[in-house]
């Protein structure tokens, strides 16, 4: 699906008359792919990379355009079960237009980074900056989810929340890899600035991006380390909760078992002394009560 847009007055706005200088292809079909490869001379492998979530971020300088593949967080859906995933985006910068190739339908120019854009090359950098910003925001969400899961685990005996934490841990590893991959791309953009035609302002912005990306990486690393190092402790908490439940059930079982034993002995179909005495029934009940009290006293003295 093609969305035509135009960069006017520092903003990207939809343009329906097919003359826009920003073309967004959302999961391009066979015909659109043919146009991109045959008419715009985009390398087929690079085009496939732009749609492949496992592809690393990279920069290719072609005769007629610059191809940039960068990593971004994929928008979370409730079906993901707290697994945060990564997607790739392809930016193909031509002299007169920018072609953006994404795998999923999501707002492409949404949020703070897309105000006061000076040129198409500036827009390329804003897109990559937007991805860093997106990662930082997702890290905040991951931290909030992780805290919430910890609260649930403290009182839980189920594996569900632990599995959610494992998903978060795995997501952070993918995020670290993607952020690191973006860092290499930004470094390459800086070194290839004269070839791409970045201005002095663009270079300044690239330096800012490097710092922001590095901070984002450190934050993701801290969250990842915390999650990984505390995982064993959390598994123990769930196991301990289960042990406490088993202990309570055992107390209840023993407390019921002993009076049952007393009553059973006197229920045997054999004669025993005092069988016909009017107080025998109450004596048996008292013995059953004493057995429960004995269990309680021994339990308390032993500190079980």
């Amino acid at each position: 699906m093609l969305q035509q847009m135009e960069l006017v007055d520092g903003k990207v706005a939809p343009n329906g008359d097919l003359t826009g200088n920003v073309h967004v292809y959302v999961n391009p079909d066979e015909q659109e792919r043919r146009y991109l490869v045959e008419t715009l001379k985009i390398d087929e492998h690079t085009l496939v990379s732009a749609l492949d979530p496992d592809e690393l971020a990279r920069l290719e300088i072609e005769p007629e355009h610059v191809a940039i593949i960068y990593k971004r967080p994929r928008n979370y859906s409730s079906a993901d079960e707290f697994a945060f995933r990564i997607a790739s985006t392809g930016l193909f910068l031509f002299a007169d237009k920018l072609v953006i190739v994404v795998s999923d339908d999501m707002p492409v120019f949404q949020g703070k980074p897309f105000a006061k854009i000076s040129s198409l090359s500036d827009l390329v950098l804003r897109k990559i900056y937007g991805s860093i910003f997106h990662f930082v925001e997702h890290l905040k969400v991951i931290n909030a989810v992780s805290e919430s899961l910890e609260d649930q685990i403290a009182a839980s005996m189920q594996n569900k929340y632990l599995l959610n934490l494992f998903s978060l841990e795995k997501s952070l590893v993918y995020y670290l890899n993607a952020i690191n991959s973006n860092a290499k791309l930004i470094e390459r953009l800086k070194h290839a600035a004269p070839k791409i035609g970045f201005s002095a302002e663009n270079l300044e912005f690239i330096d800012d991006m490097l710092i922001e990306n590095s901070q984002c990486y450190e934050q993701a690393e801290i969250y990842s380390n915390i999650l990984a190092s505390m995982m064993d402790a959390r598994v123990s908490i769930v196991s301990n909760n289960l042990n406490w439940l088993m202990k309570t059930l055992t107390i209840i079982t023993i407390a019921i078992m002993l009076p049952t034993l007393v009553v059973s002995i006197f229920s045997m179909n054999v004669p025993f002394p005092g069988r016909d005495h009017p107080l025998t029934f109450w004596l048996i009940i008292a013995l059953a009560g004493v057995s429960v009290a004995t269990v309680r006293i021994v339990w308390r003295r032993k500190g079980w």
Partner: protein, 93 residues
């Protein structure tokens, strides 16, 4: 202190619906107030102050949700949430 309750229906205009970041924005807004807020879709209901619950709702763009609050500042909590929804959670769509 008197306990009040309020209800409001809101349509999610933000594209692509309530994904991770809007969910966190909702939870952070609800936690600023003392009232309990619930968010209900046509299928499910969730505690709007609990991120695990809100993220599990999976509300798409265009869906209608019912926000209900009970507590001393119920109206204020719903006003703040309504502003957040109408502001598309701070993303300029």
């Amino acid at each position: 202190m008197s306990k009040r309750s309020a209800t409001r229906q809101i349509t999610v205009t933000h594209s692509p619906g309530l994904h991770a970041r809007p969910c966190l924005a909702i939870v952070n807004t609800v936690r600023r107030f003392r009232s309990k807020v619930k968010i209900r879709t046509s299928e499910r209901e969730a505690d709007a102050g609990e991120i695990l619950h809100v993220m599990s709702l999976g509300v798409p763009q265009g869906a209608e949700v019912t926000l209900s609050a009970s507590g001393p500042d119920a109206e204020e909590a719903l006003d703040a949430l309504a502003r957040l929804f109408s502001d598309n959670f701070g993303f300029s769509d």
